[in-house]
């Protein structure tokens, strides 16, 4: 099969990542940090090491402020629940995934918050000044998707970070599509928190993600329970990382995520991104030459990740996905990609569109096969 759905989850995972994860879990799959026996301490070391690697990955100042969650959506919920208070105002964008849109909508429907969603331009980018223009006296948070999961465009988060810092407003980025593809520097970019998932470009398994939090961002716990520390107290610990991690963490997921980061460091994040973008450019060039095929916001790929959305005139994208799968053995993602406002703005809300997202295990021949398949359908 030609797998072109890496924006949903990377597949296959590198063999060495899977082997390392299974080996570590086989040898050390005990409750980390919950016992005084050596193996529990070794398991805790693995977790601590993963926090350190993630801190390095994201330019985060304190490994203890890397907290684990089930995925980026879960991490964002932890952030929203721990930050937002009645009467707060939030600024986000129309590029967001439902992982942001739905929690914000939920809070607004209950009358707790208000929010504004900034538009993106015809090339798929948000204007940082537009963020600034939407700031109100009660703006408590700015949350922006680093890279769009529909258009692939990488947002100017450094400039947005500056706008937020000048106004003293916390700024969170959703790095679901960028972590592992683009170096992230929280400190330099004045980012208050990064929500990440492990199973996409970080090459870990599903079920692991988290939040990297800067030293000056106060996120209150919204879940309470066992942490393995201070068990006499009825009060949930205030100390990071346990403050935001209630219950036993996903050790096997963390081991896989850690092995995934090793893989990236060995191969080089720029090299991975470069390979993927070479494939994406080949795809873009091929599709651009086809009659009846439209691509979106792919004219300039200089600030992009390897995600390309396209559409064929007179062919329902859902059927196109079925034909690509059934007749050509090519896996893509069709529909609205859980980002309905992007599709509203590019004019594909009624039918959705076809998303291609190549990864490092794809070859130029895979891309040519996809272009040929699209040509035969268009």
């Amino acid at each position: 099969m030609i797998y072109l759905d890496n924006a949903a989850t990377s597949f296959p995972k590198p063999r060495e990542v899977l082997d390392k994860m299974l080996r570590d879990y086989t040898e050390m799959g005990v409750s980390p940090g919950r016992g005084s026996y050596d193996l529990a301490l070794e398991a805790e070391d693995i977790v601590r090491c993963a926090r350190r690697k993630l801190a390095l990955f994201f330019g985060a100042p304190d490994p203890d402020r890397i907290i684990f969650a089930a995925n980026a959506t879960d991490a964002l919920n932890i952030a929203f629940n721990g930050l937002l208070r009645p009467g707060d105002h939030v600024i986000s964008t129309r590029l967001e995934h439902n992982s942001v849109l739905r929690p914000l909508y939920h809070f607004r429907e209950r009358g707790w918050i208000s929010y504004d969603l900034v538009r993106f331009d015809g090339k798929g980018f948000v204007d940082p000044d537009e963020i600034g223009r939407n700031v109100k006296q009660n703006t408590r948070l700015v949350i922006v998707s680093h890279a769009s999961n529909v258009l692939g465009t990488v947002q100017p988060v450094e400039e947005i970070g500056r706008v937020c810092a000048e106004r003293g407003i916390p700024f969170i980025i959703d790095a679901s599509q960028s972590a592992g593809k683009i170096p992230i520097d929280m400190a330099a970019w004045k980012v208050s928190a990064v929500a990440f998932t492990g199973h996409k470009a970080l090459f870990g398994p599903t079920g692991i993600g988290g939040l990297a939090i800067s030293s000056d961002l106060d996120i209150k716990p919204s879940r309470f329970g066992g942490t393995g520390v201070d068990s006499r107290s009825p009060i949930h610990t205030d100390t990071f990382p346990h403050r935001l991690e209630a219950g036993t963490i996903n050790l096997m997921g963390i081991m896989g995520l850690s092995a995934g980061m090793d893989y990236i460091m060995q191969k080089g994040i720029e090299a991975i991104h470069g390979e993927e973008m070479t494939l994406l450019k080949r795809l873009r060039d091929g599709l651009s030459g086809l009659d009846h095929v439209e691509t979106y916001c792919a004219g300039d790929l200089s600030n992009h990740v390897a995600v390309l959305t396209a559409d064929i005139d007179d062919l329902n994208p859902e059927d196109a996905g079925a034909i690509l799968d059934g007749d050509f053995n090519i896996a893509v993602r069709v529909g609205l990609h859980c980002a309905p406002l992007v599709h509203e703005d590019i004019g594909t809300i009624d039918r959705g569109a076809i998303r291609f997202s190549p990864g490092i295990f794809n070859t130029p021949e895979d891309i040519d096969r996809a272009i040929e398949a699209m040509a035969s359908m268009s």
Binding site: N316, E318, D319, I323, D325, H337
Partner: protein, 120 residues
């Protein structure tokens, strides 16, 4: 007795619309998919096909429609792409061309299967 407009509102709230087809009242969703696959019969399929622009359902059409139904009632869900292809011995591209509206809005709808709950 519920007034007609109240009944229509209730159906709309449920995401349903009622139509009389071949003398029977049948519920469809707002994309025209059968609410209950058991309401389907061949006469109704012929009428709906005509409405979609298919004057005549050929043996090839019936092969697809019957496979969809047999698979659905046996497995409790619509066939996967490869099963559909193997089951009717046609490419999905060929099925797409056979039915106005294509695979989903054409063949699947005419076969009386419910609306697929894909990520939309």
């Amino acid at each position: 007795m519920m007034a007609e407009h109240e009944r229509e509102k209730l159906l709309a709230d449920l995401g349903r619309q009622a139509r009389i087809v071949a003398g029977r009242e049948i519920y469809f969703d707002w994309e025209g998919f059968f609410w209950d696959p058991n309401d389907w019969n061949e006469e109704i399929a012929r009428i709906l096909a005509l409405e979609s622009g298919l004057e005549d359902l050929t043996e090839a059409h019936w092969k697809v429609l019957r496979f969809f139904r047999e698979y659905y009632f046996y497995h409790g869900r619509a066939p996967m792409n490869r099963h559909l292809k193997e089951g009717v011995l046609m490419s999905l591209g060929a099925i797409e061309s056979l039915f106005p509206g294509g695979i989903r809005l054409g063949a699947r709808r005419l076969a009386g299967l419910p609306n697929p709950r894909s990520c939309f």
